[in-house]
């Protein structure tokens, strides 16, 4: 006890002097009374005692763990304790609270007509993640498509994700902000190293508008039996954006009316959800659905009660080196008949239904270490306008036809983060689109 007494006395005297000097130097506020200073010093002394007690606890914990020297013939650790030793801090690396990551891809497409060959820096993404505490973090992705973005260029700069995630328990959590919609296999897992083929598959581009995100709230659950789910509520599509003179709606009906939280009309709230099951290692079965009104209370709009509905089912099986997947999706825009009447005579009215499916097989041949060569084949069918509401015969395009695309190619992974790709694609209807593709991508 003697040393403590000395320490406290010295601290108190030094603190007294320091506080008086600081107060005199500041000369801006009235000097504290001696009684106030004594109170402050007592508080400081108590805090010092607490810190010393914590330090002693840490020392005791450290002493209970024994460091074994690296020599092979070193003496074994002390005799076994009777009970589990108190845990010390794990001797493992610590992590930074802010993490920067990125992915990108550069592609070359050479269609049958060689003059249309294009090379494109398809996307460059910088992602920033910051963990505020043990349960809460911010996740973001900033993307530039097609290299240059300005009023005179065709590129886009966009925020693809920006949300806050909070863990409620080990099993449940919630997100708020701009989040990916969990429909399909590709939308939430869209880095170039994650999919086969230079370009993303058509079904999850034309029917499911990858990369599809909405602003709002999500809750999610991850259960030990292999079931996971997400339920969300948020913004949706804006049908008043439909341009019946543009082929964009024929290429991707939902891609042409998405809002991407860009001053999004938010009168009509959409709901969505998915369920996945991964109870058997290597197998994933799942599906998701989305529905929401898309009139957005736009004044004078001809389809105020129109609604978008989209759902999918998918399966992925990875036995050994095989990677097999299949997906079916179907979408509908209902209640747009009156709007289509206003488009009569224009080439691209609003479709009532659209759908697609694909099946894909890849074989991941581990060449050496992390180097993997993965040849793959995929066949997909998709129809972006199976039927149309509101238009009389003669003006109704009916079924616009189901396109089929066969893709054969390979991905060469230098390591899990760097991939070189090559493939050929053959189209069933529009044979002018037949093409050869080369690409390079990375993700970290």
């Amino acid at each position: 006890m003697r040393p403590n007494f000395h320490l406290q006395t010295v601290c108190r005297a030094a603190g007294f002097a320091a506080l008086w000097l600081a107060a005199a130097a500041a000369n801006a506020q009235p000097l504290p009374t001696p009684e106030q200073l004594v109170q402050r010093l007592d508080a400081l002394a108590q805090e010092l005692e607490r810190v010393k007690a914590q330090l002693q606890q840490l020392r005791e914990s450290r002493d209970r763990a024994t460091t074994v020297p690296p020599q092979a013939d070193a003496a074994a650790a002390p005799a076994a304790a009777a009970a589990m030793p108190a845990a010390v801090a794990p001797a493992a690396p610590s992590e930074p609270s802010t993490v920067i990551s990125s992915y990108g891809e550069i592609n070359v497409n050479r269609p049958k007509n060689g003059s249309n060959t294009r090379a494109d820096l398809a996307r460059f993404v910088i992602a920033l993640q910051h963990r505020f505490d043990e349960k809460t973090k911010m996740v973001s992705e900033l993307e530039i498509e097609h290299a240059v973005s300005s009023a005179d260029d065709r590129g886009e700069a966009e925020v693809e994700q920006l949300y806050l995630e909070h863990r409620l328990t080990d099993t449940y959590g919630a997100r708020a902000g701009l989040t990916l919609v969990p429909i399909g296999l590709l939308n939430t897992n869209h880095e170039p190293t994650a999919y086969y083929g230079v370009e993303r598959n058509f079904v999850e581009t034309a029917i499911i508008p990858t990369t599809w995100r909405e602003g709002g709230f999500q809750i999610f659950g991850e259960h030990d039996n292999g079931v996971s789910w997400i339920a969300g509520v948020g913004t949706g599509f804006d049908l008043s954006k439909w341009d019946a003179t543009s082929s964009e709606g024929r290429e991707s009906p939902l891609g042409s009316i998405h809002q991407e939280l860009q001053l999004a009309k938010a009168h009509d709230v959409s709901v969505y959800g998915n369920v996945e099951w991964r109870g058997v290692p290597g197998l994933r079965l799942g599906g998701g659905g989305f529905t929401g009104k898309v009139g957005q209370a736009t004044p004078g709009f001809a389809a105020p009660d129109a609604r978008v509905t989209l759902w999918d089912v998918h399966a992925k099986w990875m036995p050994g080196p095989w990677d097999l997947s299949a997906l079916y999706t179907k979408g509908a825009i209902t209640g747009a008949g009156d709007l289509n009447l206003t488009f009569a005579g224009q080439p691209f009215p609003v479709p009532r239904s659209f759908d697609g499916w694909y099946a894909q097989a890849a074989y991941r041949w581990q060449v050496k270490g992390d180097v993997v060569l993965a040849p793959f084949a995929r066949y997909e069918r998709f129809n972006t306008g199976r039927s149309f509401d509101g238009l009389p015969e003669g003006l109704n395009p009916g079924n616009v036809g189901t396109e089929g695309v066969a893709t054969l190619g390979a991905s060469f992974y230098l390591n899990p983060n760097v991939v070189f790709k090559a493939d050929v694609q053959r189209f069933r209807l529009n044979k002018d689109n037949d093409r050869f593709n080369l690409g390079v991508g990375y993700s970290f």
Binding site: A26, R64, A65, T66, T67, V68, P70, Q71, A72, D73, A76, A77, A80, A81, A82, A83, M84, P85, A87, V88, P90, A91, A92, P93, S94, E95, P96, S97, V99, S101, Q129, R131, F132, D133, E134, K137, V139, R167, D170, L185, T188, N189, A194, E222, G226, S228, R278, G279, P281, G282, R284, K316, M318, P319, G320, S325, R364, Q366, G369, P416
Partner: protein
Amino acid sequence: MAHLRWLSASSGILLAAPAFVQAAQYATAEETARRSFPEATAFREVLVQPSTDDVSAVAAVVGKPGLRATPWRILVASRGAEVIGAVAIDSVVGKLELIDYAVAVGADGKIRDVEILAYRESHGYEVKLPAWRRQFVGKGADASLRVGDDIANISGATLSCVHVTDGVRRSVLYVARLQASGRL
């Protein structure tokens, strides 16, 4: 004074940061040890510094990244005077964030359990699933322990599952060396 206040506040945040950057812990290493070695009569904790021989020997088998060169925290299970196994505690980066995990290895060199102690990523939680982790049980340092070979991949969580599998392989090899040289 305003500057001092900000400096002081910033220092406090910096000092406190390591304590805050911890996700919720799932199972503890101690629980893993008790579950994996129910016959144990005692457990002791050791911090083991890998030798340069350990690092090069493990690297020769698993390639890069090799064995972590900083001290390893290991729980040693004993029954009487006999060492019956060990639980190695380690961390690997999943995609962006650290995954803390523990590998329980019996005296026969076979894995008894792989437990995820903390998972922080937004996606790819599936490495936590018992069904996936059970694939490791019964395998030892002589097994391939590679994703796509004797360990199934996980759709949408490839990096997490590859990195945890690589980490388990390193841990098993290291514990086998510690056991063989009598260092546990």
